[in-house]
Amino acid sequence: MFFDRIRYEIRLMGRKVLLTPILVMLGVGLFSLLLKYINTEPSRFLSAGLEMMIPIGAGIIIGTVAPLDPSLELQLTFPRKYYRTAMARIVLILLCSAGVALLSSGILLALKLDFVPVVEPHWPAFAQFVLGLLVWLAPLLWCAGACLCISLLLRSRTAGAAVLAALWIGEILFKDTLIATHWLWPIYLFPVTLTPLGAETLPANLIADWFTNRYELLGTALVFFLLGWWMLHNTEGLLKGASEE
């Protein structure tokens, strides 16, 4: 029954939802081959695929899929509440994106193409694995939660995507400002890719900041998801959002 439901939800959302992260990483991989061909080290770009591209892709998809269903009015009459269906879909999309990211990071590690500057060489393998996980998991959850909240709050799926995309580009364009302004670190989403580093290891004084940044992102993401879950209870808002677009 449980697996039937998952299969049914995947069919309802369409394969495009689950294929997008795979296509994103395939595109990143192909572009990396081009970089290798022109004698440019691709590891940082591959890391950007995990840290920056999968999160924004998942964020935009969740912000689009969760607030609206073609049969929303019917869904709202069912005994199973819509927020539970929407949350199940969000979890499925997140699991798919995380699965692709995990698989990709494993492949990069095996090919020695990984770029994880926050490395503590003396740490055990599991701790190293968690470190690598934090690189993409924190922005993935943050972007997904933020886009869900914005879409529901503004009752517009497009608005969620637009604000998230602007924030994403803003992080790249104003990275020096973000790095220099310490109180902006809680919204500094992509430090591994964007922080200019001479060596592949962060200076010791920045490692603590990096961990703090990850915890803050995860904490904020949790708040976003709780807010989103609460807003998904607002059936009237969901219906208005569907008609306003």
Binding site: I56, I61, G63, T64, R157, V163
Partner: protein
Amino acid sequence: MNQFAVFAGAARYEFWMQIRRRALWITMTLIALLLVGLIGRTQGAQDTLTHLGRFSLKTVVVYWTNFISYLLPIGFGALLADRLPRDRRTKVEELFLSMPGSLSSRIFGKYLGAGLATLIPIFAFYLLGVGVIVAETHNLMAIPLAIEAFSAIILPGLFFVGGFSIACTAFLWTPLYQFLFAGYWFWGNIKIRNVPAIFDYIPGLRPMGSQISLGLFGVYASGNPLLSATPLEGLESLLLLVGLGLLAVFALCQGLKWYQAQQ
């Protein structure tokens, strides 16, 4: 049937539909606030925009225009991206197809009407900044200069973005397009180390307007690999962006006509 009337009617209808969208105003306000917040903490921008007396009027106005073209076109593209799929979602497409008005007039009307409405919050925010410049410098010449800079630097990029946002969503899933668009805005405007970018091969294809800004006004705001551009190169970029935007909509019309003929 008079096709101009169809075009004007579609443009008028799309304009009012878009301008009344709450999401349009809130999205643009949020992006504008994000931009102001980030500019306020950026050293080079602070110097130019807060010490207006030290720089020429042209430098300040063009600087401000460049900042606008950093993030607000992303909102422009994303908010236009759902206009064509909306017709399909609300099942009015079949109704439109049964009407005597030509498809091209309707699509170009949509492009112009929705684009113009989405432009208004951007222009309003831009004018706010120009108002501050006028108040600080006591120089009314900032207004015509600002209109000139806006028309030359921002509008061509918006033509380009709008054209592709309308056209690509005819065959691409809207969220996928929005993701690709965000990626393109990054890759198509900013040089990252020695990663090849599209403007390495087509120099004028910089929708943020850096080549136009440098070529026609001699000023560009950010640390940009483009060190110089001649007025001719600026003009070339302007024409290329406008031309490609219109070409995308034209190709969409032809593609949809072909698709209809196949059915």
